[in-house]
Symmetry: C3
Subunit: 363 residues, 3 copies
């Protein structure tokens, strides 16, 4: 798809300047832009790049003097980073999945497909599954029995939706995402070493080896509207109640969400985050990559956890945390600064001991 | 499936009280239970929930007064958490995979299937593979050449079993589990910076860039009986000998087990655990989520490692460890408490220095 | 395949001794070697194992006295570990994928396949995709539109290559590897708490809940020659420019590489490594398992990061780092040693305070 500068500016609710009939074929970084590309230049710091490329039009920061930058045209958005959303939506080249239902797709006769649903080659849709209108089910997807997908779903290839999973509108899943794996829940006939160690904070008492008996997952997964799920990310069934993901929550690659977890609305979990069983996460929570949260705890709304934080205890709403164990970010930084001074401190104390004991001997 | 209260109690080896002919359709939490649901109430703390739901029968804690809770019937188990295993096994609604071999399944003519094996649509079973009786091979599974699966295997969709992998009875795998990926093993023509840094604890000497030559995996993976594997979890081939997983070990989503690792019996690895190459794990070891274990080390039997612990050295049998690096849990907690006091300690030492130097100057 | 001792020695550029016509069927560890196996014994420490097995020939360390070890033949390589590469390449039993294009493979009529390409059952190759000569595309692989794979690619089963991805020669991918998932990039209409917290190092100011708007991925992924990718590993598209992986880089299972990341040549990333968006990694960088790198930072060439290191800041070339936050390894070890002494130090300071205050009172 190509667009004129004017069309793009209108779609972004931004201002257009100069030759607004210029046709744009692609979006590029300034230094590598060709003559038909829109250069992205929302930060004046990178303005020098423009001279290295051939762009005639750019998306610029508010107040930029586009003419002195040697451009023929410009688009100026109040918040350039936000304009990126509209712009990239327009220009997304997509996966070129074919429309319609591929002849190799296996759709159970009891499944219900809404209007204009595409189903790719070698996709499977199970008994009584319901797929909302305008959805795209990619190649090799498996949609389990009795599951429900809202309208406008977009599933890349190799996605698994387990039986009984329900998902709202506009769900997006990247390759290999799995919703509805069995929860990891096992129990021993007698109290186990883990149960004892938890109670005693570290002492598991006398150990007797026992087999693990499986607790099956009777609950499902209930996912809200506008949720996204990254490549090879996993969400487990609940044990009795459903595992729940709120509206607008975005989950990156290789994230794990365990059984019985409840996640609120508009959360953002970066890659490789892991949330253990039965934990509750509020709304608008942001986790950096590799964050871990222990089981059976609570993370309040608007919490931000820096990359690789390991949350071992309840976090109140609004806190910004970091570290292992995760604590308030300023406390974490204080402790860390102190730790860096510790080797020196040990020497200072040794000297103090010497001088005090001298004082003592001289006393 | 529906069951009477009496049938359930018998199956759980538990006691039934009241109207034991009541029919149960589902298992629910007390507050959301419908009139045909069995409420799970094994902890008196949650008894209030019963009034919010409509349950007429509940699974209760030992000694509970079921009549005063307003129930028509009750099941009482000595260890309610353990009873959950039997109960959820009975009530599991499953995936509704069809019986028999689907016409689109590709089964090599030299493969051997035991009695009553189901093979889902678009599943592939390679040359000379052997599948034990009563196994279920889900859609899009790939069972490699010369591999062996014991009886009663249950594979969800998109599972990969590499060539030459051998697995015991009653194996379960969630979507996207991979057994038999090649081990990550590369070598440089001359000693590499990593080898030097390991020897010197941090000094890699003069660095010369080298290409990595591949060491292929000639070993396979040998898995015992009653093993489970979570969604998108991975186990690599051994280099020369097999990577080994003992009987009864349960592996959660997104776990990585590297080449040449030996895992004992009845271990439990929570999600995103990673075990590096050639490490040996004993029996009955429990790892919380995101635990990491370095290569070429040993973790003794009955070790418990708290969530996100990073094991960089040998751990003796029976220890409960935590932290990065993982140390005995009480030592970890001691160090952490001290660290929290450290900023204050630094001030105290500064004051001491002042008062001692005053003493000195006044001496 | 079987080989004579002489053939193997020649292929490894090593010396052969004794009965060099002996035929070798397999490679084994000394203790479990059968009479037709080549025992691997490159470290004299394990020489005792030979007596427990039945090997008649072994790969030995330089200077080994093969006759006194009771062998009929021997191969001696200068660097045994490096010889393992050639040896295992020769002896790899492989996956037994059939040659040719399977009749169930769906190859778009506009796709171009080089000479001698094998395509497995239920594999899909999309519009305008190009597959280099002598490549093997495994079962259930999905090769997206307009993607390019160089010659000699070897893809196990269930691999996803997204649209527009370009890959050099001799690429290898394990089951479930994904290249070309959408980048995790979202933006709020107004400045978000995360943006504020980053600027203020922990204070996100007043929180107003906002929806996340999607930034689509217009860039692709560009992968060099001789790259490997482990099971269920993921590489995301770039936002505007391509995500880039240099030549010779090896990526293990469950690794995550985010949008816009640039990785140099000959890097080695062990399992579960995660690299956040827009970060640049130099050449010959080695990351242990579970290493994390924050977004928008730089890791210089020849850096080595120990297992589970979390890199939160720029790392200069050649450094060996460890810890969370990752710092130079010797500093990390110093801090850790000091931390272990800290509980004692607190007591020492308390005693000092007492003795100084006594001195003071006696002054």
């Amino acid at each position: 798809m190509t667009y004129s500068v004017l069309e793009i500016a209108k779609a972004l609710d931004a201002e257009a300047f100069g030759n607004t009939d210029l046709i744009v074929e692609r979006v590029s970084e300034p230094a590598s832009a060709g003559p038909n590309d829109l250069a992205l230049l929302t930060n004046p710091k990178f303005a020098d790049g423009l001279a290295q490329g051939q762009a005639r039009v750019a998306l610029l920061w508010p107040g930029a003097d586009w003419q002195s930058l040697g451009l023929e045209a410009a688009i100026i958005a109040t918040r350039g980073r936000f304009a990126m959303s509209g712009l990239t939506t327009m220009m997304d080249p997509g996966q070129h999945f074919a429309d319609g239902v591929h002849p190799t797709a296996l759709i159970d006769e009891t499944a219900q497909l809404g209007a204009s649903v595409s189903v790719g080659p070698y996709a499977i849709i199970g008994p009584r599954a319901q797929i909302g209108a305008n959805s795209v089910i990619g190649p090799f997807c498996h949609i389990g029995a009795d599951s429900v997908l809202g309208e406008g779903a977009y599933l890349r290839d190799h996605v698994s939706i387990g039986a009984r999973v329900t998902i709202g509108a506009r769900f997006r899943a990247q390759p290999g995402a799995r919703i509805g794996a069995d929860g990891m829940s096992f129990v021993t006939p007698e109290e186990s070493g883990v149960e004892k160690a938890r109670e005693s904070l570290g002492d598991q008492g006398e150990v007797t080896s026992q087999n693990w008996a499986r607790i099956h997952s009777l609950g499902a997964v209930a996912v809200g509207d506008d949720v996204e799920m990254g490549a090879n990310a996993c969400i487990d069934y609940g044990t009795i109640r459903d595992t729940r993901i709120g509206n607008g929550t975005k989950i990156d690659n290789l994230v794990h969400i365990a059984h019985n977890v409840t996640v609120g609305n508009d959360c953002l979990f970066a890659a490789q985050v892991g949330i253990a069983g039965s934990t509750t996460i509020g709304d608008n929570v942001v986790f950096g990559g590799q964050v871990g949260v222990t089981d059976n705890t609570t993370v309040g709304s608007n919490v931000i956890a820096g990359g690789a934080s390991k949350i071992l205890n309840k976090v109140p709403a609004g806190q910004v945390v970091l570290g292992y164990p995760a604590v308030k970010m300023d406390l974490n930084l204080d402790m860390y600064k102190s730790l860096r001074r510790l080797p020196r401190l040990i020497k200072q104390v040794a000297e103090l001991q010497k001088s005090v004991s001298k004082d003592g001997s001289s006393g």
